[in-house]
Symmetry: C2
Subunit: 402 residues, 2 copies
C-alpha cells in the first residue's frame, strides 16, 4: 500500500478513472481547491454519510442519488462546506452537478457532489461553475495526489492509499483518498473519502463491504469528538478490470472486502495522525469487555477525554485520568480488575499502580502510542484511533475563520 | 451574597461552625492544603456524589456515612485525590477520620473525609495524620476563606458565598465554598463543595433541597466533559439558629431551598468562570425544546464541543459549529427552524445566517458570554455553564503531574 508521507509512491489510478483539479478560489486564492473524479464508464457506487441531523446540502443530494447504486463522477471542493445554507445550498449543489454532467456528457444523476470547509456561508457559486466546467474539460490532466491535495482543509499532508487486489484470473486496482484533521468523530461514515476500483462489484455487495469496513475503520477515529455535517465516504467500482461482478458470499467478495477494510484502516490511522495540532497518533485498545459495543464505548470515552489527550501530549502516563474516563463511559466494570499498559509497559495492575511511571513515560515519547486497557469482564475487544490534544489545536480552531 | 473575587467581603461563619487549616505538604510544601470544618453540635447532613463508577476512597466512605443524615466535621485535603488506591485508600480515609474524631471528641461516624488532586497515588498518610490532629487542636483559628484556599488545586481564585436566610422570627446564615477548575462535568453531584448553615433542617428535607438544587446548578456546569472520581457536595445544618426544624412543604423550606439553589448557582458560575485556562464564562441557553432533558442534552452538546469552545476563545461567532454540535446531540429538531443569538445579536434565523458576523463577534469580546439557541420545537428550556478552551488548558493539563 502507498502512503503519501514519504512521497515516494506512485499512485497509478485504476483503469478507466480520470482526475482533474482546478483553482476556484473558494475560500481564498493560491491553491487548487476543486477536484473532479470521473469514471469513463458508469460504475457501481456505494456510500456512507454523516448521521448528524444537520446535514450539508451535498450530503442530502448524495444520499438520495446513492440509492440507485450507480455513479460516474464526483465533484468535490474544499474551503466551504455548503452546510446550513438552506434551499440555496441545495440549488448550488445541483448546479455544480449539472455543470459537470453537461461537459462530461453523462446522466446528471450519476454525479456526486461533496464539499468541506466552513459551515454556514453560501458557496461562491458564480466563481465555481466555470471552474467546474474547466476541470471537466481538462479531465485526466491531474493525478490522484492532486485531488487528495485539493480536498485538504487543515490537513498537513495529503492522504492516498493505492493497492492491488488479486482475484483468480484478475488483478484489480484500488485507490483511495481522504481528508480529515478536525470535527472528526464519525458515526456510520466520516470525513471525505473516495475509493476507486476497476473491479466490477454488484451495488449491494459494494454497499455492504463499505458499511462493514467503515464500522471498524473510519468509525473508530476521533480527533475532537465533534461529528461533522459533511462526512461522506463514496466508492466507485467501474468494472473495467472485466471480472465477473463480485457478489456477497464468494471468495472474491472476501478478498475485495478485506482489501477495502485495510485501505480504510490505513486512511483512518492517517487521519488520526494528522488530527489538528496532533504530535502523536494514539491507539486506545480495549480488551476483556463484555461486548464489542462496550469495548468501543470504553475506548471512545478514553479517546475523547481532553485530560487524557493533554496528558499524552505532555508525555505523562497519567493513568488516573484513563480510569476516570472509563468510569464515566457508561459501562459497568470493577475498577480493581483493570490493567492498563502504555506500549509494552504494564503500568496498572488490578486497578493499582505497578510503580512504572518512568518506563510508562518513556513509552509516550514516540510518535505512535498504544494504550491497552484490559477490563477482564469478558472476551470482546475494540480499538479506537485518536491523537493528542495540543496548544496547536486551539490555535488552529480559534483562528480558523479569520 | 459575597464573592471572593473582589476580596472585599467578610465571610462570617454561621453560628456554631469553626474552621482550621494547616500545611501538610501533601503534593509539595509551601501552602495550607488541609482543612477541618467543625460544627460544635451534631448537624443534619446531606450529600450528593459523583456517579463515576470509579469512586475515590473518601467518596465511598462518605456515601455510607451520609445515610445517617448526621454529621459534625469535614476533613478535606487537596494535592491528592486518594482515588484508585484500593483498600489502602479506604484505610487512609478512615485513619484521617479517626485522627479528627479523637481530638474533636466526637463520634467517628460524624466525620466526612474529602480529597482532591492527583488520582492513583496513595496519600502521604504518615505526614497527614499529625497535621489533622494539629488542625483539630487549633479549630476556630482559621477563616472560611482559608478553607476555600486550602481546597484549591488548579483554581485561580477561592470560591466562597455567604448569605442570610430570613424566616419568620429567625435570620439564618448560610455559607458555602467550592473548588473546581478541571475534570469538571458532574452528574448528580460535583467537585468539592461544602455548605454550612446554622438553621435546623430535617435530614430528609436537607437531602431533597440539596439534590434539587444541585440538578439545576452544579450539574449544569461543564469545563471539559471529564467527570471526576471525587465529586462531593456536602451540607451541614447545625440548628444553632434554634428555629423549628424545617420540613418539606412549608414556606420555610421554600425559602431555604431557594437560597441554597441561588448559592450553588453562584458557585457553579464561579467554577465555569475559573475553568482551567478559561478567559470567559459562557452560558449556553437552550429554549423551545420538547423537554428539559432535551434542552439540557442540546446545551451540553454545544458546551462540550471543543470546536465551539475554541471559536469562542478566538472571538469567532462560528455558529456553524454550534449547529453541528446540536446536530449530533441526539435530539430531533429541524435545522431550518433554529435561531441562534450571541448576547443580544440574532446571528442565525431559521437556520440561516442573518448576516451579523461583525456584531456577533463584538458580543464575544466580553468576559461573560451568553449564547441562546431557540429550537422552536416545544416550550422547555435549560442553561448550561461552561468556559472557552484555550492553550492554557492544554498547558495546565500537559504539565499537571510534572
Amino acid at each position: 500500500m502507498g502512503y503519501t508521507e514519504n512521497g515516494t509512491n506512485n499512485y497509478e489510478l485504476p483503469k478507466g478513472f480520470q482526475v482533474s483539479t482546478v483553482e476556484a478560489a473558494i475560500k481564498k486564492p493560491g491553491r487548487k481547491d476543486l477536484a473532479v473524479i470521473f469514471s469513463t464508464v458508469p460504475a457501481s457506487c456505494a456510500g456512507v454519510f454523516t448521521t448528524n441531523i444537520v446535514k450539508a446540502a451535498p450530503v442530502v443530494l448524495d444520499i438520495e442519488r446513492v440509492k440507485t447504486g450507480r455513479g460516474q463522477a464526483i465533484v468535490v471542493n474544499s474551503g466551504n462546506a455548503n452546510a446550513c445554507t438552506g434551499e440555496r445550498g441545495m440549488e448550488d449543489s445541483r448546479a455544480l452537478s449539472r455543470a459537470a454532467s453537461g461537459v462530461l456528457n453523462i446522466d446528471d444523476s450519476l454525479v456526486y457532489v461533496c464539499s468541506t470547509g466552513v459551515i454556514g456561508a453560501p458557496l461562491p457559486i458564480d466563481r465555481m461553475l466555470p471552474k467546474v466546467r474547466e476541470a471537466c474539460e481538462n479531465i485526466g490532466k491531474s493525478t490522484l495526489l492532486d485531488a487528495a491535495r485539493a480536498i485538504m482543509t487543515t490537513d498537513t499532508f495529503p492522504k492516498v492509499v493505492s493497492t492491488t487486489i488479486n482475484l483468480p484470473g484478475f488483478t484489480g486496482r484500488l485507490c483511495a483518498i481522504a481528508k480529515g484533521a478536525g470535527m472528526i468523530c464519525p458515526n456510520m461514515a466520516t470525513l471525505l473519502s473516495f475509493v476507486l476500483t476497476d473491479l466490477s462489484v454488484k451495488p449491494a455487495a459494494l454497499q455492504k463491504a463499505l458499511q462493514d469496513a467503515s464500522q471498524v475503520t473510519f468509525n473508530r477515529v476521533t480527533v475532537d469528538g465533534d461529528m461533522s455535517t459533511n462526512d461522506t465516504l463514496l466508492v466507485l467500482a467501474n468494472g473495467t478490470a472485466a471480472n465477473l461482478p463480485i457478489e456477497e458470499g464468494t471468495p472474491e467478495y472476501d478478498a475485495f472486502a478485506s482489501t477495502l477494510r485495510e485501505t480504510l484502516l490505513t486512511l483512518a490511522k492517517m487521519i488520526a495522525k494528522d488530527g489538528e495540532g496532533a504530535t502523536k497518533m494514539v491507539t486506545i485498545a480495549v480488551k476483556g469487555a463484555n461486548s464489542t459495543e462496550e469495548a468501543i464505548r470504553a475506548a471512545r470515552s478514553v479517546a475523547n477525554s481532553p485530560l487524557v489527550k493533554t496528558a499524552i501530549y505532555g508525555n505523562d502516563a497519567n493513568w488516573g485520568r484513563i480510569m476516570a474516563s472509563l468510569g464515566y463511559s457508561g459501562i459497568v466494570f470493577d475498577p480493581y480488575m483493570v490493567d492498563i499498559s502504555f506500549g509494552g509497559v504494564l503500568a496498572v495492575e488490578n486497578g493499582l499502580s505497578a510503580g512504572k511511571d518512568a518506563e510508562s513515560k518513556a513509552e509516550l515519547g514516540g510518535k505512535d502510542v498504544t494504550i491497552t486497557i484490559d477490563l477482564k469482564t469478558g472476551n470482546a475487544r475494540a480499538q479506537v484511533y485518536t491523537c493528542d490534544l495540543t496548544q496547536e489545536y486551539i490555535k488552529i480552531n480559534a483562528e480558523y475563520r479569520t
